[in-house]
Amino acid sequence: MYRYIIKRVLLVVPTLLGAAALVFLLMRLIPGDICVVRLGSGGGTFDERAVAACHAQLGLDHSMFRQFVDFVWGFFRGDFGISMWSGKPVLTEIAARFPISLEICILAVVVANLIAIPLGTISALKQNSPIDLVIRTISIAGLATPSFWLGILFILAILDISQAAFGSPWMPPIDYVPLWQDPVRNLSMAIFPALTVGYRTSAVTMRMTRSAMLEVLREDYIRTARAKGLIERIIINRHALKNALLPVVTLIGIEAAFLIGGLVVTEQVFNLNGIGRLFVQSVQNQDYTMTQALVMLVVAAFVLTNTVVDLLYAWLDPRIRYA
């Protein structure tokens, strides 16, 4: 087990270094001089000194190798530089927006699993029945529906329902209040984006739960459990579902990708000032230091999640670590 853990953890290093190299190279592929592009985009005039100052600030006056080492070292220390748009440290900007995105992520995972696991199980138990067909259609539709459109539909529904119920339209609040200060306000803000992102994410988990459940239900020990006269509920909950959910754990990694993608657009729909919105704004404003830091952070989070998932799976399923 220890050998597996060490091997898997060591694999993170080259992947992250490779990702850092890719991000570093991508940001240097920008046609022309970043500083000139940036300074000139406002339409104003600028002189050589402004460009030189910008170069010095970004460390562009050093050699490529030195720049890369500085980039990786800065990332390692948590120093991502200064935002080219706001002039504030990148880390401060990210830290301010982190709680809201994290909260939506956690809620979305809860929503996704609450939808996916029961529906996936029912779908497997009633394989090829009309219920199965309906659930599978819901799941494929979840993958096909863009999360921003779902968000817009939610807003439409909220407006219509509140109009009908209270006589005046109501919209969820957009400014972040910590959960412990005002739970109602906090949840009324976070729940709709979480539902939007969660539904899409649930589609993948639902399919996986269904197929894993179908496989487990054909195992001998399920037949044995039935033969010895156990109640169906116990067979499903204690024997089948427990084993079927094992491979579902591996999906957390894929879910993470869905969550990130979902957040980027959903925060835009609900006008929430989170990491996803910051990302889009940084691309729109040509804030390259911010874009670079955010891409790197997202990739690091994604790679680490996948590593933890792999380790978790090896711990849960002994067949993996002894293979």
């Binding site: 080259p14 992947t15 490779g18 990702a19 190299a21 890719l22 991000v23 991508l26 940001m27 592929l29 920008i30 046609p31 494929i140 539709a141 993958l143 096909a144 529906t145 863009p146 999360s147 921003f148 459109w149 817009i152 539909l153 807003i155 439409l156 407006l159 219509d160 109009q163 339209p169 197929s211 179908l214 993470a256 990708a257 990130i260 993608g261 980027v264 657009v265 835009q268 729909v269 990302f279 889009v280 940084s282 691309v283 729109q284 040509q286 390259y288 874009t291 891409v295 997202v298 990739v299 994604f302 790679v303």
Partner: protein, 303 residues
């Protein structure tokens, strides 16, 4: 001793049985439709959207960019079947022309990405050794970027517009195809007929193109259909964020960007129909792709 005849009584017996390899393409499509009703439904949606995209000029009742300031945010009527947007543009016409943008982006991304993935995957598996190791390392790194994040990073560099959007979506799709193709190709490399081809003195290109590539066509085609849907969805997301296709090109994501939220309570059709077009098209491609997978790869059936 008598041997019991196999129980074939309840199996459907086709008298005019023709081996799969000798069936005409039309007959194959017919068999696919009969066996995969959901997939056929998906195929119908895909075909309708493709025709809408190809023949937009003849089908669309109005120009997609013509403003009619006398008919702004007009509800669906006989004159404007799906209503008009805040600039008085006919929504149906914009959706039909939007199908063209979606199809161009969807198919370009999917075809370029899967062909590049096919070449990389089969090549990597065939040559093996160091090349395979390094290539897989690079592809693993690209795979560490979630699709939309990579696409946004590429847009940040090259800027917006149809061509850049195609580049932005194609790059993250390539390793996803290469990896799947490689794992299928690895199994084929060990098959005796590849050794036989080598023994005959055939060149690498001939072995790869004539003997290996045709054998990974099943996963390749399945991925290709899946990619079209993913690319259409990604394009819509980018356009919605204002970082994809730009006005005045009609695109579904773009139609949801401007007025959809602002006019949500007064003109909900602006928000509903373009999104429905995206969802329906991607849904069609997913159903078709799933059915194709079942038809081409019997091992994956019932999953």
């Amino acid at each position: 001793m008598t041997i019991a005849a196999p129980e074939t009584a309840d199996l459907p017996v086709t008298i005019d049985y023709v081996p799969e390899s000798q069936r005409s393409p039309l007959r194959r499509v017919w068999i696919f439709c009969r066996r995969q009703p959901l997939g056929t439904f998906g195929m119908v949606i895909v075909v309708i959207m493709a025709i809408a995209g190809l023949c937009a000029e003849w089908i669309a009742p109005y120009s997609p960019t013509a403003n009619d300031f006398a008919a702004m945010t007009e509800a669906p009527s006989w004159a404007h079947w799906l209503g008009t947007d805040q600039f008085g543009r006919d929504l149906l016409s914009r959706i039909i022309y939007g199908a063209r943008t979606a199809m161009i982006v969807g198919f370009s991304c999917a075809i370029i990405a899967s062909v590049a993935g096919l070449v990389l995957g089969v090549g990597s598996a065939y040559f093996g050794g160091r090349l395979d190791l390094y290539l897989q390392g690079v592809l693993d790194v690209v795979m560490a970027f979630p699709l939309i994040i990579m696409a946004l990073a590429v847009v940040a560099i090259f800027g917006t517009g149809v061509h850049n959007v195609i580049t932005a979506i194609t790059i993250p799709l390539i390793p996803r195809c290469a990896r799947v193709v490689r794992s299928s190709a690895l199994a084929i490399r060990e098959v005796p007929y590849i050794d036989a081809a080598r023994a005959c003195g055939f060149g690498h290109a001939r072995i790869i193109l004539r003997h290996m590539a045709p054998n990974v066509m099943a996963p390749f085609l399945i991925l290709l259909t899946a990619f079209v849907g993913q690319a259409i969805l990604a394009e819509a997301s980018l356009s919605y964020l204002g970082l994809g296709v730009q006005e005045p090109t009609p695109a579904w994501g773009l139609m949801l960007q401007g007025g959809a939220e602002e006019y949500a309570s007064t003109a909900p059709w602006i928000a509903v129909f373009p999104g429905l077009a995206i969802a329906l098209t991607v849904f069609g491609f997913s159903l078709f792709g799933d059915a194709l997978r079942d038809a081409l790869d019997p091992k994956l059936r019932d999953r």
